[in-house]
């Protein structure tokens, strides 16, 4: 019995320790974001509480001087189009592959399967030239096109789901005179709602957090998304940790809210996305 109790204590101890390791770096940044630069300079250490816990001055600075409003706008724009596009493209592909038999079907499937193995980071050297030649370099359309065009995982998720919709539904609609497009729009697409939710969440979080693609393809200062705008804090705010911290908290906060609200879907989504 005592051995059991000891084991339980150790279990909880390790969990509490792990939680501290996760939360402490984040908590300290929240504390720092509420301090004034004098407080930071007086060498009292990172763990002290701010004198005024309601000092939101740094947030105002970060939001205005860091151009966070424009950044959130750009991110929202990219999110809307790339997530919408991913849903359309993924569901259309899944519908075509699962519901039709056509020549080269195997080849098409193999092309999508093989593409899933190619990590995006490796091909950017050459992708850059293509984006450039399409005239999309340094526009918001570059990340939108890339996010839409290189997402094989959501095609997988849709494919699994389309397969679970009984073909008899399509057939009865066909008998009523619906064509393929109507079947897709009126029957398949509405039934895909759970898969759409998964893809929207996973894709949305990935796009919101992505740094690499906007960094490479939108170097101009006026086209900052939240990742690149926050990254640019490094220059002007150099050693102003209170402003940088406020910027980081501003970026993390929406993620935290979404996570708390949609926990279950998020776990499921990332599980499906990774194990495809």
């Amino acid at each position: 019995m005592t051995r059991r109790a000891a084991a339980r204590t150790l279990t909880y101890l390790s969990l509490v320790l792990a939680s501290l390791v996760v939360l402490l770096p984040l908590g300290v940044v929240v504390l720092t974001s509420l301090k004034t630069d004098e407080e930071l300079a007086d060498d009292s250490g990172a763990l002290t509480l701010p004198d005024d816990p309601l000092n939101f001055h740094n947030y105002v600075t970060a939001f205005q001087d860091g151009r966070m409003l424009a950044a959130f706008g750009h991110t929202a724009f990219i999110l809307l189009f790339s997530v919408g596009g991913t849903v359309l493209i993924g569901s259309m592909t899944a519908y075509a592959i699962d519901r039709f038999t056509f020549r080269f079907r195997k080849l098409v499937v193999a092309l999508f399967l093989l593409a899933a193995l190619v990590p995006g980071v490796t091909t950017q050297v050459a992708t850059f030239q293509i984006v450039n030649s399409l005239g999309m370099f340094d526009t918001l359309w570059a990340p939108i096109a890339l996010y839409m065009g290189t997402d094989i995982v959501s095609i997988y998720i849709f494919l699994q789901f389309v397969r679970s919709i009984p073909v008899s539904l399509d057939e009865s609609a066909r008998l009523d005179g619906a064509n393929a497009f109507t079947v897709y729009r009126k029957i398949i697409f509405p039934l895909l709602k759970p898969a759409i939710a998964t893809v929207v969440i996973v894709k949305g979080i990935t796009v919101y957090n992505d740094f690499y693609i906007p960094f490479l393809y939108m170097p101009s200062q006026d086209l900052g998304v939240i990742s690149t705008s926050l990254f640019r804090f490094k220059g002007p705010f150099g050693a102003h940790w209170e402003t940088i911290s406020a910027g980081a908290v501003l970026v993390i906060l929406p993620t935290l809210i979404v996570f708390l609200a949609l926990q279950k879907y998020i776990y499921n989504g990332f599980m499906k996305g990774a194990t495809r």
């Binding site: 493209i89 293509i130 490479l216």
Partner: protein
């Protein structure tokens, strides 16, 4: 695109033959058949165009560039044979990045073991389970740049880590990001902090899909927790475990965000991808960078292939 030859037909709306247009009934089924054949391609046109433009065309181009001395801008380029590849493997400063990957590989081993541990204990009855699960997973969702800044402050002189150590009476003025070994260890540690949550949730999901009767039966047979882990959990999560190993290997080789944001590749923390990006976009050595990218791609494909060979995955027959 495969449907270019059939494009003119798109102008005609509706698949049904117009009455009076065809005096003989024979052409009608032919036309309908043509439309039936065309339909899947109409759905696939946009996805395939994107797939080819942004995945296959770059790969083909990249392989082609890798045999040239192109600088990425000038119209002039020369075929140089395998020179880029020779340079890549003989210039020690270019080759060094692979040693940096070693830190991340070691870190992923730690990460997998820790994720397995937490997934196992949280699959049993634990109080505040959802809280702990959420806390462990949340870092995976955080923006990489924000994580970079959080940990720059963490490792700062007089920052979070130094302050915590001071609480325990250990006053150090060690510059955590100051030497290559210390900096790489710190950065790899940040990667563990960031990615542990995904592995953990994957393992937890796999463990929870193991039928509960198995545990009950084993308890009747007198099995303890370790026996249960060894003989029930471990075999049950094997597919997810191998998948995680693959993801970790390719993730370690293509580490970019954390080191780039935190140190920019300074003090010996340059990774393969940072080096490639610098070669391509700072030093305009598109040819050499392409060769590097081809090598990375081949390594990752080889690792994936190896995994598929070693562990025949029954989910591959998806399509």
């Amino acid at each position: 695109m495969a449907d270019t030859t059939e494009k003119p037909a798109v102008g005609h709306p509706g698949a049904r033959p117009v009455p009076g247009d065809a005096p003989v009934p024979a052409p009608a089924p032919r036309r309908a058949r043509f439309w039936r054949r065309l339909t899947p391609w109409l759905f696939l046109a946009a996805p395939l165009a994107l797939l080819i433009a942004f995945t296959y065309a770059p790969i083909v181009n990249m392989v082609a560039f890798s045999f040239t001395d192109w600088d990425g801008v000038s119209p002039e380029l020369h075929y140089t044979g395998t020179e880029n590849y020779t340079e890549l493997f003989t210039r020690s400063d270019l080759f060094e990045v692979f040693f940096v990957s070693g830190y991340y590989l070691a870190a992923s081993a730690v990460q997998i073991v820790a994720a397995l541990y937490f997934a196992t204990i949280l699959s049993f009855n634990v109080r505040f389970r959802n809280f702990f699960k959420g806390v462990l997973f949340f870092p995976y969702l955080i923006n990489g740049v924000a994580i970079g800044f959080v940990f720059l402050y963490f490792f700062q002189d007089g920052g979070t880590l130094d302050s915590v150590l001071a609480l325990f009476g250990h006053h150090s003025d060690h510059a955590w990001l100051g030497t290559p070994a210390s900096a790489n260890t710190s950065l790899a540690g940040v990667s563990v902090w960031r990615y542990l949550g995904l592995n953990f949730v994957l393992f937890l999901g796999a463990i929870q899909s193991i039928p509960g009767e198995l545990y009950e039966a084993s308890e009747l047979d007198g099995a303890n927790r370790w026996h249960q882990f060894r003989h029930i959990i471990l075999p049950g999560i094997k597919p997810v475990l191998t998948l995680t190993v693959i993801l970790s290997v390719s993730g370690s080789l293509s580490a970019f965000e954390i080191p780039y944001i935190m140190t920019g590749g300074a003090t010996g923390t340059e990774t393969f991808v940072i080096q490639t990006v610098k070669l391509a976009f700072q030093f305009n050595k598109t040819g050499l960078a392409s060769a590097a990218a081809v090598v990375l791609l081949l390594i990752i494909l080889a690792v994936t292939w190896l995994q598929r060979r070693l562990v025949p995955d029954d989910r591959v027959d998806l399509v």
